[in-house]
C-alpha cells in the first residue's frame, strides 16, 4: 500500500491492483489497476490526472502522442466561486519583490478571478479565463535579478525571465485577492516534465524474494483447498514491504503475479540483480499427519566433494572459454552452477539460523529447525540463499493460520527482522562475492549492469 501525503495534510492511498484510490477519504476510480513490476508501481495517466495532481493542488494534462504531461499549479484547488458580478473586469496592479533566491511577482486583483498559468519561452504567462482585465500598464521593466519585465497583452500577463535557466509557478491567495508568481532557478527537476518513474530507493543493496511455485504449478494444497503458490505470493508481498522498514534496500520479487517460472530462472534473476540475499518462500506439506511448524533450509552439499573433483578433472581437460562466451562444455556449465552456492554456504547457514530464530519467537510455530536439502532453487545462487518453509499447509490448523493476514504479516515481519539482524552483524566489507561468474544457459550475463528499475 502506497501512502502519499500533501503539505496540506491531504492523503492519498493506493496499492498494486487498485482500481479505486482514496484521495483524502474520497474514492476516485481509475481506468486501469495500478501494477507492481519488480517492486516499481505503474499507474495509468488518469491516476495522475484525477488523484495525484489534485492532491498537490495542481492540474495536469497528458498528451499521449508526445508522452508529455503539462502540469499547472493552482488548477486543482483554485477557488471557483466568483465573488463579484459575472463579467465585471478585474483591475490588477503589480509588485515585484526579490527575496533571495527567488522573486515573487504579486498580481493584486480587485476581485478573485479564474486564471491559467503557462510557461512560455520568455517566461510565465498568466491568463484570466472568466474576466476582462484592466492592466495598470502595457509593459514595465524591473531591476530584479530574475524578472526582467512584466507585460500585459489582452487578458494575459507575461512575467519575462532574465534568462532561460529560470522557472516559475503561480498560485492564488485571498484577502486581498492576488496571484503570486514565484520565479526561481531550475533546481533538480523543473515542474513541467513528464512524470519520471520513481527511482529505486537505495541502489547497492538488493534483496530478491522468490514466492515459490505459481501458474500451473500450485505447489502443495491444503485439506481445505489453500494453495501454496497463493500463500507464498501474499507473504512475499508483505515481506517486500517489511524489509525496507528495517533495512535500507531495494527488494525485487521473482514473480508478482500468478505466473510460472522455472527454478533456474528464479536464481538467475537474483544473480543478475547482484542480490545480496535470495529468500525463497514456501509452505510445506507432508504425508506424516503430525508434521507441523516452520523450517529454514540452506543447500545440502552432500555430493559437492565428488563434484569438485569432477570439476578439477574437467578443467584440466577443457580449454578455457573466453569470458562471456557460451560455455563450450555444457557439463562444466552445469557443474559450475551447482558449485555457485558452495562459496556462500556458511553465510547461508547463518542467515537460516537468524530467520528460524525469529520465526520461532514471533510466529509461535514449532521449531523444526535449520535443515539442509538439495533444493534446486538454491544451487546456483551466487549469494547467501535460503528456502523458508513458513508452515505446513497439509496441517489443518496451520492451513488456517497460513490463510490469515495477521499470521502472514507476523511471518513477514519476523523474516524482515532476521534480515536486518543478518546485515547488522555482517562485516561491512563483505560484498557479494563475484568470484564465480555462473550463468545457466538461459540467463543473461552476470557481468552486465542491471538496468535501472523501471
Amino acid at each position: 500500500m502506497l501512502t502519499i501525503g500533501a503539505k496540506s495534510g491531504a492523503q492519498l492511498l493506493a496499492g498494486p491492483g487498485a482500481v479505486q484510490v482514496s484521495v483524502n477519504g474520497r474514492s476516485v476510480e481509475i481506468s486501469r489497476p495500478i501494477r507492481s513490476v519488480t517492486g516499481v508501481l505503474y499507474a495509468p495517466p488518469d491516476f495522475f490526472e484525477k488523484a495525484l495532481f489534485p492532491l498537490a493542488g495542481a492540474r495536469g494534462t497528458w498528451d499521449p502522442s508526445q508522452r508529455l504531461w503539462t502540469v499547472t499549479a493552482g488548477g486543482g484547488t483554485a477557488p471557483a466561486g466568483p465573488a463579484a458580478e459575472p463579467g465585471a473586469p478585474v483591475t490588477v496592479d503589480v509588485a515585484v519583490v526579490h527575496v533571495d533566491p527567488s522573486t515573487q511577482v504579486v498580481l493584486r486583483e480587485s476581485t478573485a478571478a479564474r486564471f491559467e498559468p503557462q510557461l512560455v519561452t520568455s517566461g510565465i504567462q498568466i491568463r484570466w479565463t472568466d474576466r476582462k482585465v484592466v492592466p495598470p500598464f502595457a509593459e514595465r521593466r524591473f531591476d530584479d535579478p530574475l524578472v526582467a519585465a512584466v507585460r500585459f497583452e489582452g487578458d494575459a500577463v507575461t512575467v519575462v525571465f532574465r534568462d532561460a535557466s529560470l522557472t516559475a509557478h503561480a498560485y492564488p491567495l485571498t484577502d486581498p485577492d492576488r496571484i503570486v508568481v514565484e520565479v526561481a532557478r531550475v533546481v533538480a527537476s523543473p515542474p513541467i516534465e513528464p512524470a519520471p518513474p520513481p527511482p529505486p530507493a537505495v541502489p547497492g543493496l538488493t534483496i530478491v524474494i522468490d514466492p515459490g511455485h505459481g501458474g500451473g504449478e500450485t505447489g502443495a494444497i491444503g485439506p481445505d483447498g489453500l494453495q501454496e503458490k497463493d500463500v507464498t505470493l501474499q507473504i512475499a508481498r508483505r515481506l517486500a514491504a517489511a524489509i525496507p522498514r528495517v533495512l535500507s534496500s531495494r527488494v525485487v520479487l521473482t514473480r508478482d503475479s500468478d505466473s510460472g517460472i522455472s527454478l533456474d530462472d528464479r536464481t538467475s534473476l537474483a544473480n543478475h540483480e547482484k542480490a545480496a540475499l535470495f529468500l525463497s518462500l514456501h509452505a510445506n506439506s507432508s504425508r506424516a499427519v503430525g508434521a507441523h511448524g516452520s523450517e529454514t533450509y540452506y543447500l545440502s552439499l552432500e555430493t559437492s566433494d565428488r563434484v569438485s573433483q569432477d570439476v578439477a578433472r574437467r578443467e584440466n581437460v577443457a580449454p578455457a572459454a573466453a569470458p562471456g562466451a557460451p560455455a563450450a562444455n555444457p557439463d562444466l556449465d552445469f557443474i559450475l552452477w551447482d558449485l555457485a552456492q558452495s562459496a556462500h554456504i556458511t553465510e547461508s547457514s547463518r542467515l537460516a539460523e537468524a530467520i528460524q530464530t525469529q520465526l520461532n519467537v514471533v510466529s509461535k510455530t514449532e521449531n523444526r529447525g535449520i535443515k539442509q536439502a538439495p533444493f534446486r532453487v538454491l544451487a546456483g545462487a551466487t549469494m547467501p540463499a535460503v528456502l523458508v518453509e513458513v508452515g505446513f499447509i497439509s496441517h489443518p490448523e496451520e492451513e488456517k493460520q497460513l490463510r490469515s493476514a495477521a499470521f502472514q504479516e507476523s511471518v513477514a515481519v519476523a523474516i524482515a527482522k532476521a534480515v536486518g539482524e543478518f546485515f547488522g552483524r555482517r562485516q561491512p566489507a563483505a560484498a557479494p562475492a563475484a568470484g564465480l561468474a555462473v550463468t545457466p544457459p538461459p540467463a543473461r550475463s552476470p557481468g552486465a549492469t542491471p538496468p535501472p528499475g523501471k
Binding site: S286, R287, A288, E295, P374, R376
Partner: protein, 200 residues
C-alpha cells in the same frame, strides 16, 4: 610310390585340419558376453520352503532387501527389511524395489512415501554404476518440500542400499531430465545417499 604316399599323407593332414576346424567352429564363433556386474548387494536370504501337505515342495530363492519408509509423526525415514523373490537382472530388481516401496510398510507407525500416481516406467543400472530411474508422475500431483524430500530420499536411499556396484541415482520424469518432481529437490544431477532425511 613315394608320390602316392605323400599324397595320402597330405590328404590325411587336410582331413585332420578340416576336422579340427569343424570341432572348433561353434566355440570360436560364439558371441562374447561382457562380464556382468553383480547387482545384489546382500547375501540371499535362506530360501523359504513352503511345505504344503500334498503339494510338491517348490523352494523359492529370495533376497533380503532394506526399504525406507516415513514415520507418521515427523516424516523421517526408517529402514524396514523384507524378503523378496530373487530378481534375474538389475532392471527387474529396481522394479521389484519400487513395487515394494509402493506396497508400503508393514511395521506399525510407518507410512508409505510414494503416492499412488507415481509409477516406475523403467529402471537401468548403467555400466558406470549410475542407476537411472525413469518415473511417471501424474501432472495433477503437487508436493510440499517435506513430501518431495521423502519421496526422492526413499527412492535414492533404497536403491543405493540394495543394488551393488552403484554410486548414484539419476531420476528422470516421464522419460526426460527434469529440474524437480514438484519444484524443490534437484533432479538435474545424479544423487548420492541422502542422509539428512534418515531418522537418527
Amino acid at each position: 610310390m613315394s608320390r602316392r604316399a605323400a599324397a595320402a599323407i597330405l590328404l590325411v593332414m587336410a582331413a585332420a585340419v578340416g576336422l579340427l576346424l569343424l570341432v572348433n567352429r561353434p566355440a570360436s564363433s560364439r558371441p562374447t558376453f561382457r562380464r556382468r556386474l553383480p547387482f545384489l548387494r546382500v547375501t540371499p536370504a535362506v530360501a523359504s520352503v513352503t511345505a504344503r501337505p500334498g503339494a510338491p515342495a517348490a523352494p523359492v530363492e529370495t533376497v533380503r532387501v532394506t526399504l525406507f519408509f516415513s514415520d507418521a509423526s515427523e516424516g523421517k525415514l526408517h529402514p524396514e527389511e523384507r524378503d523378496i523373490a530373487k530378481p534375474a537382472e538389475p532392471g527387474a530388481f529396481l522394479r521389484a524395489l519400487f513395487e515394494e516401496l509402493a506396497r508400503g510398510p508393514r511395521r506399525p507407525g510407518l507410512i508409505g512415501v510414494l503416492p499412488p500416481r507415481i509409477q516406475l516406467r523403467n529402471g537401468f543400472l548403467m555400466p558406470s554404476g549410475e542407476v537411472v530411474l525413469d518415473i511417471a508422475v501424474d501432472s495433477s500431483l503437487s508436493f510440499g518440500s517435506a513430501e518431495e524430500l521423502s519421496i526422492v530420499s526413499s527412492l535414492v536411499d533404497t536403491t543405493l542400499q540394495n543394488v551393488a556396484n552403484t554410486q548414484s541415482v539419476r531420476i528422470l520424469v516421464n522419460g526426460e531430465p527434469a529440474e524437480s518432481l514438484g519444484g524443490h529437490v534437484d533432479l538435474t544431477r545424479p544423487m548420492g545417499f541422502i542422509r539428512d532425511e534418515l531418522a537418527p
